[in-house]
Amino acid sequence: MRVMRTFLLVMIILGLTQALAYEPVHTAPQAVTMIVSNPYCVQDVETAGSCLINLRYFSASTSDSSFSHIEIAINGKVRANMSGFFENSAYLTGPMLGNGLKVACGGKNISGIPDMGRQYVVTLSGFATGSSPVVDSANVTCPYYQRKTYLPVLMK
């Protein structure tokens, strides 16, 4: 009787060992690796109230095929999107965004920074399937726009 009990115990232990041994191992999803350069703001035309935000480069990749896409957002509004269709990564350079992403320069000292205009939050995000996005944010301050009023020259 004792032998039988021992046998049953051994069988149970064997079963449990088997269960643990074959427990499927779920590989952790790969987070996106991002390399970003500093964003900047330029007022290319002094007489215009619009400024341009751009950055030198923004690249993102994953070591597996879970790469999804990258986004550039300014003050929470998505302004650029590149999906990983043909590549397992995304690589964006400043000139690929034309002249840059247009924003309002803003008046002098509007952001509280002396001799500067508006400040924007530029968010660079990388997404992969099955993992949380990787997000980098930077405050970018633009040159101010000095509105000038030209009075007509009146001839007497």
């Binding site: 039988m4 069988m11 079963g15 964006l92 965004l97």
Partner: protein, 174 residues
Amino acid sequence: MRKFVFAGILVLIFTGGMLMVDNLTSAQTAPPTPTPLTGSMGTQADPIAPNSLTSFTVSNPYCYQPDPAVDKCSINFRFVQATDNQSSAPYMTWLAFTISGKKRYNATAFFEGTITYSYDMVPNGLIVACGSPNAGGAGNQYGNVYGVTIQPLDSSRNPMSTDIANVTCPAFSP
């Protein structure tokens, strides 16, 4: 004696069954496998196949909104390159980009067997409407979704290869 052996076998069958169920469940809940990607070099045509392109490399298309106050977005690619070794017909004669069924770009292979496109060849990109929030069903931050097709064509305008991508543009929400 038999009772205990039978109980032992039952335990083994039960644990085995539990394992199978777990495997099936985990297979169902696993994240969907993305479309196979071909690495940083993009797609590569088979160089051994007769009458094929030697290579066809495409980088990811992208869409951006230069001015949030205007419903105009730009679609572009970092590079696209198609090469035909010109050893046998049909020969690659054109490289064309189509956005939502409309041909938007066409380059001719005349002096060279390779056609290369770079984003700065169309500095402002291919202009499309951004679309209202969630117009393409990709969420409120996004507008229209465009099907972008890249095709090297032979002299009879038959595609020698085709790459298709859906490109999602930022929403126009002034």
